[in-house]
């Protein structure tokens, strides 16, 4: 008897066959959308933040070439996710990003210099997580999924209206932690949203070697987590999906798994050589689905983006890039005493000894 009721429940958890979208590749509204189109003010904000975010990303890549950053993982081409998801959050919500998500951080309002501290090499983290409600950028893959579930569950235990959004890559969905996090979230009905940015690759490893399910969003059903597949280069759709998921979570409806189909336009990082494992044709096809072009065309066709606004946004992006250059071109001096300052709540005697030894060496 239980069995007969399963398919319907299962179906309600499964993603659609085709990714949800609101805008076509060329920026026209899709016919009969499932999702609700965001208002004009949101669309304009998505556009503005995406242009600024892309300029930031280009600037960070350039600074890396000049040796100002140890390494930079670019999110070029993924701006619909980086910006759309963050704008869908409310101030009281939390974001758990990865190393790839610097654009998401600046969109959230983390100052650029603080965002890039990790990659610049001054410290492991440059911002105050509590100030921005942004967890530390996560490098050990998928470990942030569990932190997000825990934080969200604590919020619900405390009666706080807080949702946690965790970002992970396609590759990271293969790690055990992702599965444990989905299961915990499902069992606890935790107010958490998982956004998988499926950008086609985990460094060199393509989807075909990573996953045999029809989609990554299909992973939700086994954990009782409703799942959504969305066009990850459609900023309006990513925004709408994440906003709906945040709303559901906030209303006690539990977690959602979102898979956004997008593409990593640059190499994994500046240290990677993507020509070893993918064709230029493939990249070119995705450039044709550019998320920034898409929203620009849409807004222009709607008469919302005139030359003056376009110029103003471009100018803002340039000014932001200039400010990024300025902070990053200033040499940071990190006090070596900091090596010992944050290991324990109270400095231990053996660390004090070691700190004294280093101070003497440097004197």
């Amino acid at each position: 008897m239980v069995r007969t009721s399963l398919p319907a429940r299962e179906r309600s958890l499964l993603p659609t066959d085709e990714p949800l979208s609101l805008l076509t590749k060329t920026g026209e509204p899709v016919a009969d959308p499932v999702l609700e189109m965001p208002g004009d003010d949101v669309l304009l904000e998505l556009h503005r933040k995406m242009v600024v975010g892309r300029r930031f990303d280009t600037q960070a890549t350039a600074l890396t070439r000049q040796g100002r950053l140890a390494v930079y993982p670019s999110s070029r081409g993924q701006e619909a996710c980086e910006v759309g998801a963050v704008l869908a959050l409310r101030e009281q919500d939390w974001l758990f990003p990865t190393y790839r998500d610097s654009v998401a951080l600046v969109t959230r309002g983390v100052p650029a210099g603080e965002t890039l501290t990790l990659l610049q090499g001054g410290w492991h983290l440059g911002y105050d997580p509590y100030e921005h409600r942004v967890g530390p950028q996560c490098t050990p893959l998928a470990t942030n999924t569990l932190h997000a579930v825990g934080l969200a569950q604590a919020a619900s235990l405390k009666g706080e209206d807080t949702v946690a959004l965790v970002l992970v890559g396609d590759g990271a969905t293969s790690e055990g932690d992702t599965h444990e996090a989905l299961n915990f979230a499902g069992v606890w009905k935790a107010p958490v949203v998982f956004l998988v940015q499926n950008n086609g690759y985990a460094i060199s490893v393509p989807m075909s070697k990573q996953n045999a399910a029809p989609s990554l969003a299909h992973k939700g059903v086994g954990y009782g987590v409703p799942s959504v597949l969305v066009d990850g280069n459609d900023p309006a759709a990513v925004y709408a999906v994440v906003r709906d998921a945040v709303r559901t979570a906030a209303e006690g409806g539990g977690p959602t798994l979102v898979e956004a189909l997008t593409y990593r336009v640059e190499a994994h990082t500046n240290a990677d050589d993507a020509t070893r494992y993918r064709d230029a044709d493939e990249v070119a096809a995705w450039l044709d689905r550019d998320p920034v072009d898409r929203i620009e065309s849409h807004l222009a066709a709607k008469g919302l983006l005139d030359d003056a606004r376009r110029a103003a946004v471009a100018q803002e992006a340039e000014a932001f890039a200039a400010s990024v250059r300025e902070v990053m071109n200033t040499d940071v001096e990190v006090d070596p005493a900091e090596l010992f300052a944050h290991v324990y709540a109270q400095p231990t005697s053996h660390l004090q000894e070691q700190a004294a030894m280093l101070a003497e060496e440097l004197a």
Binding site: A70, V71, L118, L119, Q120, G121, G122, W123, H124, T139, P140, L141, G171, A172, S174, E175, G176, D177, A202, I203, S204, V205, K209, Q210, N211, A271, D272, R276, Y277, V332, V334, P336, E338, L339, F340, V343, H350, L351, Q354, L358, E361, L362
Partner: protein, 334 residues
């Protein structure tokens, strides 16, 4: 004989092992077409095909766990962990299964798996890319733990590791991947469990391994200016430990310093000091000292130079070996 970088020597060892034995498989993250992020497996997938050299889903526990299963069924897996700290998701498979399988099954099941792990710092890497995690493994009985300090040893030890009936944690000092040396594949090997004297000297024994071997040799050169004739012992095999070679050296010199990048507290050096002290006490003119990383999480790139043991810190330690209490007939000038 030809000059090869350590990475080239490792690549050659993998190729020769794949060539020599069909049971050898190479797998992990990005080891296929990309050739690994450090290019250690460069060209192997093209040469041996994707049934022998292949990319796996991104899951370290999965990689080690399936390697154990493959080894149980007659294969000889050589798997790669992309960086030191990214082996931690596999910790349970390594410590509870890989290390214990022989013992649990009273010797009936053998798991000849090699886990290659680039480790250590000194390359300006961001957090989680620079850990020296050797002590976690050396503390685990049933694992062999080896680490090369030269390109020739990279070749020899990796071939020995793949031939070994025991599971091996093969730690690759990533900051030395690009350093070159003469490599003769197929030369007589020193022996898997053996330490070697890299540089003979009469006054003090510097005990080092992996990335610190080059630093110890550099220190030995610098020490000549201070009038110290330094012997450098390269441990090669951290577990098992070659007491014979190490103690023979310390008994000759009467003084010893152990060097490693990892934090000192509870670190591998403590084991070395204990063993040497227990066995060579009456030959020692001074306590055996350690020069190690501080007892802190690995620092960010801009501070790592302060953390890593370097020539000056090692020279300081040598200087603290109670030279004024010189016992006639031993050590310097003897």
């Amino acid at each position: 004989m030809s000059a090869l970088s350590m990475s080239g020597a490792l690549n050659r060892a993998l190729a020769d092992a794949l060539e020599a034995d069909d049971r050898v498989l190479v797998f992990g993250e990005d080891v296929g077409p990309l050739g690994g992020v450090f290019r250690i497996t460069d060209g192997l997938a093209a040469r041996f095909g994707d049934r022998r050299v292949f990319d796996t889903p991104l899951a370290e526990s999965g990689i080690v766990g399936t390697a154990i299963g493959m080894a149980m069924n007659g294969m000889r897996p050589v798997v790669e962990m992309q960086f030191d700290a990214f082996a931690y998701p596999a910790f349970e498979q390594i410590t509870s299964h890989l290390a214990k399988m022989r013992n649990r099954t009273r010797g009936k099941v053998e798991v000849p798996v090699v886990i290659r792990i680039p480790y250590g710092g000194g390359i300006g890497g961001v957090e989680h890319h620079c850990d020296s995690s050797e002590a976690y493994y050396t503390h685990t009985s049933g694992l062999r733990v080896v680490t090369p300090g030269t390109p020739q040893d990279a070749y020899d030890l990796l071939r020995d590791a793949i031939d070994s009936p025991d599971p091996v944690i093969f730690l690759e000092p990533k900051r030395r991947y690009w350093s070159k040396g003469e490599v003769t594949p197929g030369a007589d090997r020193v022996g898997f469990d053996r330490a070697v004297v890299r540089r003979p000297g009469r006054d003090v024994t510097l005990i080092a391994y992996g990335p610190m071997v080059a630093t110890a040799l550099e220190t030995a050169e610098a020490a000549t200016e201070e009038g110290w004739d330094v012997e450098v012992v390269d441990l090669r095999s951290l577990s098992p430990f070659d007491d014979e070679t190490v103690c023979a050296s310390v008994r000759r010199t009467g003084r010893a310093v152990v060097v490693h990048e990892a934090s000192g507290f509870g670190g591998y050096g403590a084991e070395v000091v204990a063993r040497v002290t227990e066995r060579c006490f009456h030959h020692l003119h001074a306590p055996v000292l350690r020069v190690t990383g501080f007892d802190i999480p690995y620092p960010p790139p801009k501070l790592e130079e302060h953390h890593l043991p370097g020539v000056d810190r090692i020279l300081d330690a040598i200087g603290r070996l109670q030279w004024d209490d010189e016992v006639v007939g031993a050590g310097r000038g003897a």
